[in-house]
Amino acid sequence: MIMSEQTTAAETAAAAPAPKPKRPKPKSMILLGEQTQTLFDNAQLAKERGEKVGWSASIFPQEIAETLGLNVLYPENHAAGIAARHQADPFLQECEGPLGYSNDLCAYAKLNLAYAAVLNGESVVELPDGGKMVKPDFLLLTNNICNQLTKWYENLARQMDIPIFFIDTCYNPYDYVTESRVRYVRAQIDQLIQDLCAFTGKSWDEERFQRVMQISQRNSYLWERANDLLDRKPSPLSGFELFNYMSAMVCNRGKESSTAVLEQLNAEIEQHIAEGTSTFPVEEQFRVSWDGIACWPYLSHNLRTLKKYGINMVASSYGKAWAIEYEDLDGMARAYCFASTNGDNATTMISRRLEALQKFGCEGTIYHVNRSCKVMDCQMMEVQRQLSQLAGVPFTSFDGDQADYRNYSEAQFETRIQGLVEVMEQNKEAKRND
């Protein structure tokens, strides 16, 4: 089959029955759309005022920039959006071609490095969003999510001659954080705040920080609660929909606009629970957990295929990574030593997933073997084996990519899902006969 970034009509027809009329967007999604638009608009306006605008890694303590009143955009989130809208191809070609990067690089990095080259006048690729990801004046970075980010950001910094404000969270093989590590990270946070103030001309206001932290913690609570409410049977929400709300946590965690989005989302979920309804469009026959980053280029194919077999994805290790709890700068330092699944050891990963499988009543797990994120794949096979044994729950894995559409086969995805369904159905029948 010739790979195309667009899903073929024949494949779509195979995976989905006749299309139904679209239901109206819930208010929370409308609020989310407005919030996203505001984020990009504000960055543009700040740029026009001559203020400094930043780009940030997705798991960076957002409250620092929020307290300083800085406008910050998020390349990973932006790249996911480009991939989900099937607009990745020219950026991938540019990155692997004229820019000379390896095909093996993370696809978020490939998309963003090419996008940055366009902003920097080095490449000519039409920007499908009109360049709303405005050229940054500084970069914010932590290495708790992946180490490739450090090279990606270093290249951006050299390419555009801008500084990186970096927190080294250091590799943590334990399932706890030592005080010396907390002090090490805290000292970097203090220095980073000083340096960022000096660079941007902003000043640190402790009272404002406290207010931002209160908002941030409220948002973390609301995000976790929205995730947790999917433990109802049937689930009030189609689990994939939560992926859409992640930008409220990734890009806007310290903002009141996220509180509005997440309160509305929680209210809508509660209403579904009260009325016994769900946004999952068919009968929920199976409940599964999802492991790994979303396969953004094929999110709709993933969803259509799962829907075809009555599978609702009710638990995900991905989305919950942004439900981070801390109240002050020491807490922030401690939390960021652990804020990513890539930083967890296998024991921690397995115990968290086991708890989720049990809490959400999952009957199977789907693992996304993500070509872009080899660190995430590193422990996946062993986690699959141990978790399946401990929980007595079958699993399947599929090859895909978070943003490179060339690394996925629709037919192979469906065969694996169908196989999982057949095992889950037998397990159900065995329970009924017990």
């Binding site: 096979m381 399947t396 690394n407 469906e414 065969t415 057949e422 037998q426």
Partner: protein
């Protein structure tokens, strides 16, 4: 009661008619897969062989890569469950099945009743599949059926290190140009497939007996290489290539029988 099982693969089509879920009435392997006249021919031939027609069939299950495009079947079931059921029908003591098909490889754990409990599949790459062997046979200028016996004459198998089919093809051409005996290259090719598939299979429990399914199981060279890699004896039934279609026919019989029981209730 007659049931029909059809396995529309990527490189061949198989059709099986089963009487009462137990007696093999007819079976056909047509070397043309999905998107060709293969499925139609297989169907025509299987009816001719047993003197039956579509009207005599009580239930039809289709499986394989082309299963989504078959509108005359009552139900489609994944090739995972069908190979599990088919091998159980042929070799009831088996608990681990390795199926190497035209474009994918699977390792299956099955119960005493032939039910699938866990599985592993190859990644998107064609290495370790029947297609890989097809390409290599072409480079060696031998028929695919000759590859197995040829490799058994090898005294010094060469290493084929590339897992990429295209790169492995170049590697084989390079060995040929260095005058390496063709049988040693054939053995190296089989070892390469076996290493890849065994690595995947070893992620499962590998409860004995172990059997191979699918057309590649007819290649004695691959079976021996797999035995070496997995450190166990591997059973192969002469009808291994039809195991998916047999499983489909068995499942068709089980579904129909269950439906009749439910109707009576």
């Amino acid at each position: 009661m007659y049931t029909l099982g059809i396995d529309i693969g990527s490189t061949s089509s198989k059709a099986v008619i089963l009487q009462d879920g137990a007696v093999l009435a007819a079976h056909v392997v047509e070397p043309l897969g999905t998107g060709t006249v293969g499925p139609e021919r297989a169907l025509k031939k299987v009816f001719e062989l047993c003197g039956l027609s579509q009207q005599d069939i009580n239930y039809t299950v289709v499986t394989g890569y082309g299963r989504m495009n078959c509108d005359y079947a009552d139900e489609q079931i994944s090739e995972l469950s069908c190979h599990a059921k088919g091998i159980h029908f042929l070799l009831p003591t088996v608990h681990t099945v390795i199926d190497i098909g035209g474009q994918d490889a699977k390792a299956l754990s099955i119960t005493d009743k032939g039910q699938l409990t866990a599985f592993q599949m190859n990644d998107k790459c064609a290495a370790g599949t029947g297609r890989f062997l097809d390409v290599m046979a072409r480079v060696l200028n031998v028929e695919i059926s000759e590859l197995g016996p040829l490799s058994q004459k090898s005294s010094h198998p060469v290493g084929i290190s590339n897992t990429c089919t295209v790169f492995a093809e170049s590697e084989v051409i390079s060995q040929l140009s260095s005058n390496v005996p063709i049988e040693d290259i054939a053995a190296g090719i089989h070892s390469s497939v076996a290493k890849r598939v065994a690595g995947m299979s070893l992620r499962l429990d590998r409860t004995p007996d172990v059997a191979m399914s699918g057309g590649v199981a007819l290649n004695i060279g691959v079976v021996h290489a797999m035995e070496q890699e997995m450190g166990c004896h591997i059973l192969v039934d002469p009808l291994c290539q039809s195991a998916g279609a047999i499983g489909a026919a068995v499942l068709a019989w089980e579904k129909r029988r269950k439906g009749e029981v439910d109707d009576h209730e």
